[in-house]
């Protein structure tokens, strides 16, 4: 007996018939060859979120992102004109990596007036133009204006910075983000500038961690001990059902109840939460800022009074979680091989006015980390056993609809690349993995 109403078809999954309801192969998560195809078909061709405009506070602010899956490193920089731009992080002279610090494979950030190559000192301004060539007359008819940094498409949506490595891409970020993007436009992201970011190296395919965060079916079991005993028993008995699931093109979303802010019975939560009035769902009191009431229309699509959070999966590797308590969280999954990736979870709060607010946010951030360590610790174990291929097909339930959709979308991108001879973009061949 469902606690929340499902679509007329009887299930969320059947509401999107293209998804099917049969068992699903996880070969796409354990095959090195398939991963190489994903790099070309997905990461080298779609919009990737690389950060927020607050990270580029003033002209000359820059950061680099190692987009290993897309086969490059990019510099993202705010120009003298205030515009945010992105460039391949490569010097036009002889290919040295232009911006890095101490370790060439690590990301860096800072503020500068220009970029100077560590090798022979060529210089580039913040707009990417080559401005200085060491011993220029030694070159042969060198026209500096033809040796600017190679631009990467870069757009800003609601303060989120996106890049697309494919020079042939003609879709804007706004169009790419579709209905979900349009429906959350106007959320006061720009007021939430108190940031915590956690990073983990994870021994699984990138899609497996999205799987873990795109369903809450696991929550009453895997996270059982994080609730007080009686509450935990109750949650396991009930199981988990979302308020709503939606799919739009390659993207998906789940809307969930919860939040306990404040809980009906204070004894439902742990002593530290009782004392601080905060927990996994964030500080119980919403911050007093504009833009949270009314909320943009895509949030709480079921219009449920029990609404706790909405979790958007923006294909391929960006998740955005907006909480009823007035803060947001992002997840990034950066593949480094078919069975490894780097996970980043970033929490954004309205800056605290005093120590109490600060400590409430600290509890939310620490709680996030405890949960994420639990979410992450099953992944290597899953990856290992998927790779045995002892079992190859897996049943997914209706609460796992977003997983079905994610893997299907990723497979579709790969087959579209295969069957598109007119694809003007020919990626650099990637050496085979032995």
């Amino acid at each position: 007996m469902p606690h929340f109403e499902k679509p007329a078809e009887g299930s969320w999954t059947e509401h999107y018939p293209e998804l099917g309801t049969g068992p699903v192969s996880y070969e796409d998560s354990i095959s090195p060859e398939h991963y190489e195809l994903e790099r070309k078909a997905i990461f080298a061709r779609t919009w990737l979120n690389v950060g927020r405009v607050e990270e580029l506070a003033r002209p000359g602010s820059y950061f680099t992102r190692e987009l290993q899956a897309a086969g490059t490193s990019v510099i993202v920089v705010r120009g003298i004109d205030g515009q945010v731009r992105a460039f391949h992080n490569v010097c036009r002279h002889r290919g040295n990596k232009l911006v890095w610090h101490d370790y060439p494979r690590e990301e860096t950030s800072g503020v500068c007036r220009q970029f100077t190559c560590k090798y022979h000192g060529w210089r580039y301004d913040l707009q990417g133009a080559c401005t200085f060539v060491q011993q220029e007359p030694e070159f042969f008819d060198l026209d500096k204006s033809r040796y600017g940094l190679v631009p990467v498409q870069c757009e800003v949506w609601e303060g989120f910075i996106w890049v697309n490595i494919d020079p042939a891409n003609t879709t804007s970020v706004v169009d790419y983000l579709g209905e979900f993007g349009a429906g959350i436009t106007g959320y006061p992201f720009d007021k939430m500038t108190q940031v915590y970011r956690y990073r983990a190296v994870v021994g699984s395919n990138w899609k497996l961690f999205i799987d873990a965060f795109a369903e809450f079916y696991h929550a009453p079991i895997l996270h059982a001990r994080q609730s007080v005993a009686e509450e935990s028993r109750k949650l396991q008995g009930i199981g988990y059902e979302a308020l709503a699931y939606q799919i739009d093109g390659p993207h998906g979303m789940v809307s969930s109840w919860g939040g306990m802010s404040p809980p009906k019975d204070i004894n439902m939560v742990k002593p530290i939460e009782q004392k601080l009035h905060s927990g996994l769902f964030g500080p119980w009191d919403r911050p007093g800022i504009e833009g949270l009431d009314p909320l943009p229309p895509a949030l709480n699509p079921a219009r449920s009074p029990a609404w706790g959070l909405d979790s958007f999966v923006f294909f391929p590797n960006f998740m955005l979680l907006i909480w009823s308590t007035g803060w947001y969280l992002t997840y990034h999954y950066w593949p480094t091989s078919y069975n490894t990736h780097i996970f980043e979870g970033t929490l954004y709060f309205v800056p605290p006015a005093n120590a109490t607010e600060r400590l409430r946010q600290e509890l939310a951030a620490v709680t996030f980390k405890e949960y994420a360590l639990q979410d992450g610790n099953t992944l290597e174990a899953t990856q290992m056993m998927l790779e045995t291929r002892a079992v190859t097909m897996f049943p997914l339930n209706d609460q796992e609809i977003l997983l079905r959709h994610l893997h299907r979308t990723a497979r579709e991108y790969v087959s579209a690349l295969d069957s598109d001879p007119t694809n003007p973009y020919t990626p650099v061949p990637v050496p085979a993995v032995s």
């Binding site: 970011r197 002593p271 004392k275 120590a355 980390k369 360590l373 290597e380």
Partner: protein, 114 residues
């Protein structure tokens, strides 16, 4: 971990917390590392001493400007962060580490300045 902390560590009202001065650590990485290298008895002792004082700590700190706290007040805030961190082993896990997390780790790469 035997660094000597100068006196007074905390604002004078909180002299009872002096035995836990080594928990006044300014980064999540330090607090988490100290948690993992502590015994449950040590974590319980911190919790038992600091938890009943949390309301008083917040009342004291809320009277000050968060972004220009004097050093003793900052240490008190850091101690409160450690209490939050230690509450998980004490209230939930009954062990310092998240169960089954093995070698997995999650590094705080950005955190608030205060």
């Amino acid at each position: 971990m035997t660094e000597k902390t100068p006196v007074p560590v905390f604002p004078s009202e909180f002299v009872d917390l002096d035995p836990f001065a080594d928990w006044a650590l300014g980064t999540e990485a330090e607090r988490y590392a100290k948690r993992l290298s502590s015994t449950m008895d040590q974590l319980q002792a911190l919790y038992d001493a600091a938890f009943p004082r949390l309301e008083a700590i917040l009342a004291y700190l809320d009277g000050l400007e968060l972004n220009s706290l004097p050093l003793e007040a900052t240490r008190l805030l850091w101690l409160a962060y450690s209490l939050v961190n230690a509450s998980f082993p004490v209230e939930v896990w009954r062990q310092p580490r998240v169960p089954d997390s093995g070698a997995a780790s999650m590094e705080a790469v950005i955190e608030p300045a205060v």
